[in-house]
Symmetry: C2
Subunit: 344 residues, 2 copies
DNA sequence: ACCCGAAGTGGAACCGGTTCCACTTTTGTA
DNA sequence: TACAAAAGTGGAACCGGTTCCACTTCGGGT
């Protein structure tokens, strides 16, 4: 186990001072004579020298690193989001430190502290909704915060990237209404999140423009983790007058909800028409293939990274940005007209 | 945007020297009078002081960080693995820097360089198979390397955690043979990986003990990325005498393979019996639910972390360790006796 | 009362980069 | 040819921790 060379080793071997090596390492930080530059480059290559990130960070005061704080990587939604973000970050030479919260504010708080210790220059997160002061403190210390998929109302000056929640919920609801359905259930995110509320609004708006009444019992706001989606589905099916259509607008709960449907032997779409908010290849492989609101994860990731890096480089207007990405509706075969639906 | 306090601020506010504060921060690094310890703790809390990780790393020479290098997080196998590893790492106070290789040795090489710059104390990876010298160099510089799911033969002294490849392939093959199948196709990983070879051996062994011949054309070793699995399936189906059963023993290619089956309108298990190596909730939600070799990701993750941390703390015997975890076979409804299979 | 070792403390070097600044050497221009 | 501006260079401080070591203080044993 040998020791890696340092900048002073390089300087000595090239017969120059560390200043010169540093200037070679960071172009535009000062002049270097072409001959010396070449020699330094040669020595660097010969010794296999690589600058230690820790040293750089210490003197710079911040790291070329961003934190990614998501609920849970075993959920394909977050996993794919993470994948895109890691990919985009790398192409900009930025590393990603990954933390999961399991939707637990305590774990989230711990993660934020750790990221602060690491002097990350940005954080991309799907926040739990708690830790308002902690998030504020983070921003206060100059960390660029971007929320994806959800907002925290109390945090006015954070950037947010999400899909068009209102619009997506409205469109999927309208589609089902167009098929003749009147009892449409909605499983969505917690009311404490902007996302959850916006989707409910879209759902209501669709009902209103069709002059249909809204049965509040058909709306279920459930947490992002655990088996809450499945439980909501179970309870919906057990209603005296069960729904004939279901929109699962809580991406993290799609799997749980669908599992419950399968377990209960519900036939799709003969018994129940289903639309889910998801972007998961498996939805297409089911029989029938599920109709989905496709979350454009690539776009979410790209915008999130753009925001973080843009702020890092100070090339972005001051105020907080809200970016809403259009989500595609992909009708497949999990929805049928009400006339062809078996009412129990 | 204010500035975070440093250890010197704390020392000044508590009326002690930085040495004392440092000793309070790191118990067992030296004596501190109880009264002063208490005062220092109070000041730390009051100022909200947190030690900068970069400073620590610089002087320690290595970071409390491990690198996780996987193919692709949009693949549920790697995503779930990452999830468990992040979780286990956190519980030991270790952070995880995530990098993806897309199975491209160049990207892998770049990742390793970056991790080296960061002075990570360990790397957990699903290696591409290339970059032998780079991996060796990493180990040479004192980085603990643990491979998951695959080995690199040329790298004798790396720890490896994987499932019992030979055994798993053998059992699934025997199961199908038991159902009467004689033309069983195998889609597995590249021959350049130990995993790929071991699974083929298991497959062959099952044939031998049943005195069945092996048709080499039924064995397809395909890369971990791209749509190679689907293509292999397409080509298998187009054979003059196509297989009546299929084992997809390349977790990264399960989705691609199944998609192709669905696209081609192959009925499971009426036309083809299927077993896949996977640990993905969606396999259960398909109709029919797929029979799987369940990869015990939790176990893989726990062992990987144990190895890395164990080596970091120097409390592990010298030589490289190979840990094989038993994988469960979960028969569901995607396999039928040959007698009930439609031969085209 | 005396001495020795342990407990407690702070000063300063060190880790490996970046950056400021003073200094020397070129260049360009009048 | 003279002299200011620009290019090139290296010394040293600095970032924020850890750690070694010298020094002081205290306690206990004889």
């Amino acid at each position: 186990m040998k020791k890696a060379p340092t900048i002073r080793d390089v300087a000595a071997a090239a017969g120059v001072s560390v200043s010169v090596v540093s200037r070679v390492l960071n172009p535009d930080s000062g002049p270097v004579a072409p001959a010396k530059r070449q020699e330094v480059v040669r020595v660097i290559d010969e010794l296999g020298y690589r600058p230690r990130a820790a040293a750089r960070e210490l003197s710079a005061g911040h790291a070329l690193t961003i934190g990614l704080v998501v609920t849970d990587l075993s959920n394909p939604f977050f996993a794919r989001l993470a994948d895109r973000i890691v990919w985009e970050a790398r192409s900009h030479g930025v590393q990603v430190v990954l933390m999961t919260t399991q939707e637990d504010p305590h774990l989230e708080a711990e993660s934020l502290d750790t990221l602060l210790d690491r002097s990350v220059s940005g954080v991309i997160a799907t926040p739990t909704g708690g830790n308002i002061e902690k998030w504020a403190r983070l921003q206060d210390l100059g960390v660029n915060v971007v929320f994806v998929d959800r907002t925290i109302e109390e945090l006015g000056d954070a950037d947010v990237v999400s899909i068009e929640n209102f619009d997506s919920a409205q469109r999927s609801t309208e589609y089902l209404i167009g098929l003749g359905h009147t009892r449409i259930a909605l499983v969505t995110g917690p009311l404490s999140t902007s996302t959850g509320r916006a989707r409910i609004s879209g759902y209501r708006a669709a009902h209103e423009s069709a002059s249909l009444p809204v049965d509040p019992l058909l709306i279920r706001d459930v947490p992002f983790r655990g088996d809450a989606g499945g439980d909501a589905v179970g309870s919906l099916l057990a209603m005296p007058q069960p729904p004939t259509a279901l929109i699962v607008a809580n991406t993290a709960q799609v799997q749980s909800s669908v599992r419950r449907l399968v377990q209960k032997g519900v036939r799709i779409p003969e018994d129940l028409s289903v639309i889910v908010f998801d972007d998961n290849p498996w939805t297409e492989l089911m029989s029938p293939p599920l109709s989905v609101i496709r979350q454009p994860l690539d776009m979410l990731a790209v915008h999130a990274i753009e925001l973080v890096l843009g702020r890092m480089q100070g090339r972005l207007p001051e105020g907080p940005r809200l970016i809403e990405v259009k989500a595609d509706f992909l009708p497949r075969n999990s929805c049928a007209p009400l006339a062809q639906t078996a009412i129990r």
